[in-house]
Symmetry: C2
Subunit: 168 residues, 2 copies
C-alpha cells in the first residue's frame, strides 16, 4: 500500500504524459496515487525536485557512440513523453538531469561544442513538441519534416566543429 519515491516519480510521469506539463500538478500526481497532496512531501521537498527527478528518469537510457547519435538519442527520449523536452531542458538549466549526456558529449566535441549541441537539441525538440500539440493528433508527415530539420541543424553545428578543429 505504501508508496516509495520511484512510485511517485513514475506516477508523475504518467500524469505528465496524459495531461501535459501545465496540468501536471502535485494534486493530480497525488490523485494518481490515491493519496492526499500533502503525502507527496514525505518523498520530495518540493515540485521542482520532483520535476528534476522526472527529467533524470527521462534521459537515463540515452547513449550513443558519436555526437550525432547521442543527440538523436536524447531527442528520442524527450519525445517519448508529452512535454518531455521542456521538463528536461528546464531541469538541466538548473544543473540537474542531463549531466551524464553533457559529459559524454564534452569528451567527444569539447565543452563549447557540447553546450551548443545540447541547447540546439533542447530547443528544437521543444519546438517539435509544441507544434505536435498545436496541430491535429498524429501528424506523421510533419514529424518526419521536423526530424529532417533537426538533423540538418546538427550537421551545421558538427561541420562547424570539424572545420574549427582542422582548418583554422
Amino acid at each position: 500500500m505504501a508508496n516509495s519515491l520511484p512510485d511517485v516519480v513514475a506516477a508523475a510521469l504518467r500524469v505528465l504524459d496524459s495531461y501535459g506539463l501545465e496540468f501536471c500538478s502535485m494534486r493530480r500526481v497525488a490523485a494518481e496515487l490515491d493519496v492526499q497532496p500533502s503525502a507527496l512531501y514525505h518523498h520530495v521537498p518540493n515540485k521542482q525536485t520532483l520535476l528534476a527527478l522526472m527529467a533524470d528518469d527521462l534521459v537515463s537510457e540515452v547513449d550513443g557512440d558519436d555526437a550525432r547519435s547521442l543527440c538523436h538519442a536524447l531527442r528520442r527520449s524527450m519525445l517519448a513523453v508529452r512535454d518531455g523536452a521542456e521538463v528536461v531542458a528546464t531541469a538541466s538549466a538548473f544543473r540537474l538531469g542531463v549531466s551524464g549526456v553533457e559529459k559524454q558529449l564534452a569528451d567527444l566535441v569539447g565543452d563549447d561544442g557540447a553546450r551548443t549541441l545540447l541547447l540546439f537539441t533542447f530547443g528544437h525538440t521543444q519546438s517539435t513538441q509544441t507544434h505536435r500539440q498545436a496541430s491535429a493528433v498524429g501528424a506523421i508527415d510533419e514529424d518526419a519534416d521536423l526530424d529532417a530539420s533537426f538533423d540538418r541543424g546538427l550537421s551545421i553545428i558538427l561541420t562547424g566543429l570539424t572545420h574549427r578543429a582542422t582548418c583554422r
Copy 2:
C-alpha cells in the same frame, strides 16, 4: 484614468522585471495598474496573449547587419529584463514574437541556419539568466564568461554554415 493595451503591456513588463516570470501573475499586473484582475480581460483575451505582446515589445528594437550582430542584439534585448529570454523563447515557439528577426536571419543564412542560430541564442540566453539569478546579484565576471561562451557557440554555427555553403 483609463488604461490602454500598451499601458497593460508596460505594466506587465515592469512586474516581470521586478518579480520574475513565476510571480508575473494577472493579479499582480492588475495591482500594478490599481485595477481589478478582471479589468485586464477587457484588453487581452488571456495571459498567453499578454505574454506574447510582452515578447514582441522586448524584441521590437532588435537589428543588425549580419547574423552575428543580429544574434548579439537579440541576446541583449532579452537580457534587459528579468526572465526575458524565457518569455521570448516561449512566445516564439507558438509562432509569435521574433518573426521579424527570424526573417532577417533567414535572408542572411537560410532557413536552417536561422533556426539553428535562433534556438541556440534562446537557449544560451535563458541559461545565462537562470545562472544570474542563482548566484549572488551582479556577478560581473560570470556575465563576461557567459558572453564569451555565447560568442564561441555562435562561431561554431557560423563556421558550419560557411563551410557547408562553400566547401561541400
